[in-house]
């Protein structure tokens, strides 16, 4: 008898194994419950993409962007506003995974791990969410962007982190989502991506900000130097070309006129290591987090590049890729003396949603991207470019520091279309806005494409802030 009892110790092993499994189950449930709930088949939140009990989504001024009326999800009355904010708000299909309605569906529907989903009707209330975006600004940006195949425009307050404008094209009307079939697939390519967060483009000349930063920090006599640009120069067995022959220029002039020859020479002089180091410090290869969504990583690495490629990389060609939100954050960092305030899009929510999300209501400080003194110098360069090359009147009286760029998407054919860019920020006290705008599918330059889109958005955003 004793022997049998002594052998029964293994019962505790079985029980401990069971309790271990149970602990694991509890752990998994606690941490994944909101993901588990957000399933299209979930009967408790079925119909209207599961949004039939979801709360209101409003913009910064309280304009209703989406709400549920009689179990139907209703979006903004203006079709342009609907399309402009499609990628921020989302639609009933939940295909845009970074949109608020997809990301926070369970919170919008009032889900919490403790209370579950199906409270009695009189208690059932979706949580409302207030966003930082300005519907009017987004609409302005959308009207500019809608003529292009693909593009993105983001404007945010670099002091507080509030995103005022986040528009991506292609877009569609959430009231009538397209049926995407094999035939029309190409027409809707990338339509579910918010290009502001989830796409990258070739930077072109806006990357000269990075090259300039590397030069300012590593070449002591950079401000005294001059270069001669004859329109093209052979570096590493291939020509680096400029649009015009810029003649003799100093750094400021080279930056303003966007002289490729000068920045190509600088990249070669600095060398791959210094270029990589500066790009890394400025967050080119990093992801940024915007209200729980991670941006797509940019790309810069010239470790294995030859001399010609290194030269091209200095003017944002080679295989460089950057993300619009990332560039806006970089501009915000320069405006803030080197350290950005992280942008965010949800400014408030009813109930305890914010607590559930673990988000604070203000933007938090990010890591330093640029040294303070370098940031000041870059700011001067960007200001010079606006005053002398784009014209200070462009932004309707706002004091703007900016850089345009035209990234060539090098496929090697005549049909090559460019990525036109404009990024920058305003220094006005009452309109601290950093912005980035990119459009694809143009054979024109960044100034006349992205520049025209973003100026309207920035002016409108400043108006909204000053209201």
């Amino acid at each position: 008898m004793k022997r049998i009892l002594r052998r029964s110790w293994f019962i505790f092993i079985v029980v401990i194994a069971f309790l271990g499994g149970m602990g694991f189950l509890v752990f998994e449930t606690v941490f994944n419950a909101s993901d588990w709930v957000d399933q299209p088949y979930n009967g408790h939140i079925s119909g209207e993409g599961g949004l039939s009990q979801a709360g209101q989504i409003t913009d910064r001024n309280g304009e209703v962007l989406a709400q549920t009326v009689d179990k139907k999800r209703v979006y903004h009355s203006d079709a342009d506003v609907r399309k402009a904010l499609l990628h921020v708000v989302g639609d009933n299909s939940l295909n845009i995974s970074t949109a608020i309605q997809s990301q926070y569906r369970s919170q919008l529907t009032g889900y919490s791990f403790i209370w579950g989903l199906n409270m009695p009707k009189s208690f059932r209330s979706g949580h409302d969410m207030k966003l930082t975006v300005d519907a009017e600004t987004c609409k302005t940006a959308y009207n500019g962007l809608k003529n292009y195949d693909s593009g993105a425009c983001v404007v945010y307050n670099y002091k507080t982190g509030e995103i005022l404008c986040d528009v991506s094209v292609k877009a569609y009307d959430p009231n009538s989502p397209p049926k995407i079939t094999d035939e029309n697939e190409s027409e809707y390519e990338g339509v579910y991506l918010d290009n502001v967060l989830s796409s990258t483009y070739t930077p072109g000349s806006i990357f000269k900000i990075v090259t300039a930063a590397a030069a300012i920090e590593n070449i002591p006599d950079i401000w005294e130097r001059t270069w001669y640009c004859g329109g093209k120069e052979e570096i590493g067995g291939g020509d680096i070309t400029c649009v015009n022959a810029h003649g003799t220029v100093n750094l400021q002039q080279a930056f303003g006129k966007s002289c490729n020859v000068v920045f190509a020479e600088l990249a070669v002089e600095l060398g791959a290591d210094k270029m990589n180091e500066t790009a890394k410090k400025m967050g080119i290869n990093a992801r940024f987090t915007v209200s729980d969504v991670k941006t797509k990583k940019g790309h810069y690495n010239v470790k294995n590049a030859n001399k010609n490629q290194l030269a091209w990389s200095g003017v944002g060609q080679y295989d460089n890729e950057v993300n619009p939100m990332q560039m806006a954050i970089l501009c915000g960092a320069i405006a803030n003396g080197g350290t950005p305030v992280n942008p965010y899009i949800i400014s408030g929510a009813s109930g305890s949603v914010l607590k559930d999300l673990g988000l604070s209501e203000t933007g938090t400080k990010g890591n330093e991207l640029v040294q303070g003194s370098t940031a000041r110098s870059l700011g001067e360069l960007m200001r010079y470019a606006v005053v002398n090359d784009y014209g200070d009147s462009m932004f309707g009286g706002l004091k703007v520091c900016a850089k345009t760029g035209t990234g060539e998407t090098l496929t090697g054919t005549d049909n090559d279309k460019n990525d036109g860019w404009m990024i920058g920020y305003c220094t006005d006290e009452d309109a601290p806005l950093a912005f980035a705008c990119v459009v694809r599918g143009t054979n024109q330059y960044g100034y006349s494409t992205a520049g025209q889109v973003v100026k309207g958005a920035v002016i409108q955003a400043a108006k909204s802030l000053r209201k």
Partner: protein, 558 residues
Amino acid sequence: MTAVMDIAVVALRMLMPLYTIIIVYQIYASMRRRRRHERPLVLLQNLDTGVKTPVLFWENSIGRNRRSDIAVDDPAVSRNHCVLLRRKEGWFLSDTGSKTGTYINGKRIGASRARLMIDDVITLGNSEYAFRRGEEYHEELQSSWFFSKVVDKPATKPYKIMLLVSLFHIFMTVEAMYCDGAENFDPATLCAVLLGVEWLFFFISTVVLHRVAFELESLCLFLTGIGVMLLARQNIRSAYVQLIAAVIGMAVFCALVKFIENPDRIGQWKLIIMIAAVGLLAVNLVFGRVTNGANNWIQLGSITVQPSEFVKIAFIFVGASTLDRLMTRQNLLEYIIFSAICVGALALMGDFGTALIFFAAFLLISFTRSGDIKTVILALAGAGFAGVLVLNLKPYVLRRFETWRHVWEHTQDSGGYQQVRAMTYIASGGLFGVGVGNGCLKYVAASESDLVFALMSEEMGFIVAVTIAVAVATLFIYARSVATRARSTFYSISALCAAGMLVVQMALNVFGATDILPLTGVTFPFISAGGSSIISCWGLLAFIKAADERTYSKRVKG
């Protein structure tokens, strides 16, 4: 008005988890109470030294082996010399193949049991012992925690626990009646029948059979009732079928408890039981019906039966044994062959969940009997090989392994369809549940059996579901505790094995539905819908009940 109703409904839902915990605690707490003091039943006094050795168990091995219940330090005594047993009729001594023989009052005894009277003298090798009454032992004994400090607290009266359980089922009924805003009085009728069954069983047990304890039955009635009431708003007909099966199960429970009252009689039945079990599996293999890739059902008229469920009971009969038989026949071969046939037949049917339960039970029994860890490792290795073979032969099992831990990539195909829904609805239920009948998982196939843990969690809340699972697991610890006081090793082994089967089955059910283990489609004991399953669960419970020493002792009036 609706607001008041809603507040009441929500308050009730929040009350349920706390209530579940109270019930489970009360049941286990009173299992520990109202037990006799640990004291020696009899004692053996060495006539040379005068040292008194207490005899604590109903079955005791005596020998030179230090691990014997009564160790005798005498080179002339065999390692396993003889066995001292208590039966209703009195005390017996039987020789288990000793070299020097066992003598009572100078008369040599054999393997058959010889009657032993108080003050008889037992001679083993060069040692002589007088057989004395237990009252003559005055030293303190060490008790295990389960039996220590139990004296002061009075047990909760069995009828009070039953009232708690019944009220719980009434609460579930109220929820089921008013779910989805639509009133439906079907659950009320069902509940009335359920309560009738519960109290009739209680009446039979306490008044007719004079049993002292009813906690184990209360726990299982509690679980059975939850299973029945969960079905009320899903399929009222299957709720009644389940209840009828439960009644049959309770009858089987009573019959089995009676049948194994005399553990010595089982030896004679063993062969018949084995043949019947193998026959049942053979019939299943020949006439079985294939459902979900597993051929484990047979159709009898309008009802379907799962024979493998009943073989579980036979499995324990064959595995457990009384101590004197264990000592004389240490050979496990007969049992190993029987186990191999059972597990093999189940594998052929494609019922790998049940095969796994049998295998776990086999490991439990063979280790308890032999204490040989090598056997266990060997068996595990063999099972591993068999498992690989199975994966090669049965592609649909392989598929379950392929999707295991990847079910979210298979939300719309059979690889993960059930599991992801189980998890989604567990999460949707939150800690307090959406209320009985309000769930959505009930529309998913097999939710009332394979996924019942999730169903329970969705409708009654995560806290209730986890508490119930832990309550079933605690059955194992309870079985071990009562096994230390059981009247025969037959009861100890069978109680451990029965509890082990129930716990392993429950673990496979819970962890299978939540993708912590591959989904094997076994039932949650007592709660899952399934007639054969609930009958066999009540049958297995009989072994745990029988191990409790109070079961066969009649209540003394007054």
